[in-house]
Amino acid sequence: MLRRRQIGKAGWGWSLFAGVISLIYFFPVLWIILTAFKTRADTLATPPKLFFTPTLDNFVSVFSRTMVGGQEAIDTGFGLFFFNSIFIAGTSVLLALIIGTLAAYGFSRYPLRGNDTYLFIILTTRMLPPIVVIIPIFLMFRITGLSGTYFGIILLYTAFNLPFSIWMIKSFFDELNREVEDAARMDGSSERRVFFRISLPQVTAGLAATAVFALILTWNEFLFALLLTGTETRTVPVAMGRTIGGEIGVDYGLLGAIVSLFLIPVFVVTFALQNQLLRGVTFGTIRK
């Protein structure tokens, strides 16, 4: 008898092991979330407090806050910022995925002359520190009237996500088994049919992974959001900036509360896409 290990399956022992490691890795995030429920005294307590009386004050101040002593609380506009973040990130990720998939398919299946050069140039647009291009972009936005509009920031974020999306989706297309596509063509399927029915379904894992990464990057983008959004289109990361360096250094509780709330949408989306992510690049039996 061969000693055969069950491959790809593990039991509760492994769960325990993975659980311990994951919790250690997750601990700083857990601490941030706990901070959201702490008073300032508890946050800065020595020794640190793992158990404390939770307060919801920080979450209340996310939405409305008294700015000056003795005056009544005013709306911080967080609801709008939150909506803006979802709308702007959602739209631009979707756009980047659609445009990026088309381009990736093109680069992969119909190489142009100098294909690699194009791909490389696309990548170089991500290489410069954003601070260098901020002034010309600012200028461009002012001239075109895009400053402070949804359209402007969405277009910018789409461009911001494209290089990464194209490269990633292309690498998934490249891994596909071409012979299946060719066979379908021989059977008389149109190009459109080959793309939608054969190639695309096989890279859903890649699309999911790309979507998650693009979403995370866009979701947390700060510099462009600070400079190119107006009061109406401002996103949550800019609101996070408010918790630093006012009259009290960092308002840890408030920042923790904003971070915790802000984590929920990306967390949910990633969780929903998890099956796709874990399915991996499972396709045809013969690899190229």
């Binding site: 005294a41 000056v68 002012r142 075109t144 359209f151 600070l226 109406e232 408010r242 360096g245």
Partner: protein, 478 residues
């Protein structure tokens, strides 16, 4: 190229249409309705200005004028303003600005010189007369101390001593202090007027306790330290405190008013400066361990103080409000304020030279005459006695001598008496466009000395050489 051009136009047109549909075109300014938009850091003094304007501002011209502050997080305020100004966005009619930025944005053509308005308006002249001269010099003049005026105080700020009266007035502590160091532990405001750096050192040594040691009437629940002041690479933090030591030791910084004869080498690394800087580094060792990282800024010492880890700190009055708030501070009922320590001269008098903080607000250069007039009316409203008193009662500071001279001014906030006493001692760091370069390199060198990578003299030599290079290149030193 023609193709590219037309494409660009098409894009621009398309974009403009979309912008329209998104409803984001700038508001049309008519004669009756004027919006004065002011870039402002997001904190209580500016929030108060907005709230008070909403409540009580009525333009004397009869126009429908609204003051609209664009609140930007402090941490990114500089970037936002710099990007807006240098890209020609022309979004703001007024701007709250650090005094150091004056040179940069005046020479860039963004902040407006106000002399002709002041000359034509007796009310403004009276205002300028009533402003404290230290504030006019730091907040309004460029070149520094010239007769060209640009700004008005939005929030004047100085550093004062914050101390724990429960500990400093504790009988047992006072007796123990007297026994070891021979002086009195400063308890009242008047006591602090007599505190020099030697006394500060004694206080630091006296209150250094380990966890579990007796402290006041109780026991220290954590390591406790006597004194702390800022030592941080962030922005201008270390410089603000170290400049005070330079000036008190009879040294100084490169003097922009003596351009082009004023020197950096021999001034910045003079023996007096080195001695002052060494004293600063020496006293820093009494502070909590955060100083070792070169990251103990104005907020870190504020937190250390509010969480009861340190007995006395030197910090801005602008950060004083949270310390009185039991929600943020553990010592809200135990705090009192005094003037900062200084160096005792041979005549026995204490010199307290210090670097001014706070912010002026300015007008921008692209406004129409009407907007300028309305903006200046807002200035007059803000600096009116009425508004200034309300502001001071809500934790702000007035720059007007007449308001500060009122008896009840001292009682508005617990630090006001110390603030008023410190005002005549204020000087300011440079205002020239190169200030950020000078500041960054200096902060870096100070940081090396603070974290023990260099001696005080080595650091100051490096600073002097660098400043000499930069200022020669800028033709400010011959």
């Amino acid at each position: 190229m023609q193709f590219v051009k037309s494409t660009c136009l098409a894009i621009a047109a398309g974009a403009a249409t979309l912008a329209l549909s998104a409803g984001a075109l700038p508001k049309v300014v008519s004669a009756e309705e004027i919006v004065i938009r002011m870039a402002a850091p997001d904190w209580p003094p500016t929030r108060f200005m907005q709230e008070e304007a909403n409540r009580s501002y009525k333009a004397p011209s009869g126009n429908d004028v609204r003051l609209e502050l664009d609140f930007i997080p402090w941490g990114n305020f500089y970037e936002r303003v710099a990007a807006s100004l240098t890209s020609g966005e022309q979004k703001y009619q007024m701007i709250v600005t650090d005094s150091q930025w004056l040179g940069s944005f005046i020479e860039g053509g963004y902040y407006m010189k106000l002399n002709k308005f002041i000359d034509a308006d007796p009310e403004l002249q009276a205002l300028m007369e009533d402003l404290h001269p230290a504030l006019v010099a730091a907040y309004s003049t460029y070149p520094h101390k010239s007769e060209n005026y640009y700004g008005f105080p939005q929030m004047p700020d100085t550093m004062v001593t914050w101390y724990r009266k429960d500990l400093f007035c504790n009988d047992a502590e006072r007796a123990a202090f007297k026994e070891t160091f021979g002086g009195t532990l400063p308890c009242s405001y008047e006591d602090w007027e007599n505190v020099d750096w030697k006394a500060w050192e004694n206080i630091g040594n006296h209150f250094r306790r380990a966890k579990g040691d007796k402290l006041g009437d109780g026991v220290a629940d954590d390591d406790f330290y006597g004194v702390a002041y800022q030592a941080s690479k962030t922005y201008d933090f270390s410089t603000m405190q170290i400049n005070a030591f330079f000036w008190q030791w009879g040294g100084g910084i490169w003097d922009e008013t003596k351009e082009p004869e004023g020197k950096a080498i021999g001034v910045v690394n003079s023996d007096a400066n080195v001695a002052g800087f060494e004293r600063y580094l020496d006293l820093l060792k009494l502070a909590p361990p955060a100083y070792k990282t070169g990251q103990m800024g104005i907020f870190e010492i504020q937190d250390l103080f509010m969480q009861g880890k340190v007995g006395a700190i030197i910090d801005w009055v602008g950060l004083g409000e949270p310390v009185l708030d039991p929600k943020t501070s553990q010592v809200s009922d135990k705090v009192a304020f005094g003037v900062t320590p200084g160096k005792r001269g041979s005549d026995g008098k204490i010199e307290r030279w210090a670097n001014i903080g706070g912010q002026p607000f300015v007008l921008t250069t692209w406004n129409s005459d009407t907007v300028n007039q309305e903006a200046l009316d807002i200035v007059k409203w803000w600096l009116s006695e009425d508004t200034q008193i309300k502001f001071a009662k809500n934790g702000g500071q007035s720059g007007l001598k007449s308001v500060m001279a009122m008896d009840e001014y001292k009682t508005f906030r617990p630090w006001n008496q110390a603030h008023v006493a410190m005002l005549p001692w204020q000087r300011d760091v440079w205002h020239i466009p190169e200030f950020f370069e000078l500041l960054t390199q200096q902060q870096e060198e100070f940081d090396k000395a603070i974290t023990g990578q260099k001696s005080a003299r080595e650091a100051l030599d490096a600073v002097a050489t660098f400043q000499d290079d930069i200022l020669r290149e800028a033709e400010r030193i011959e």
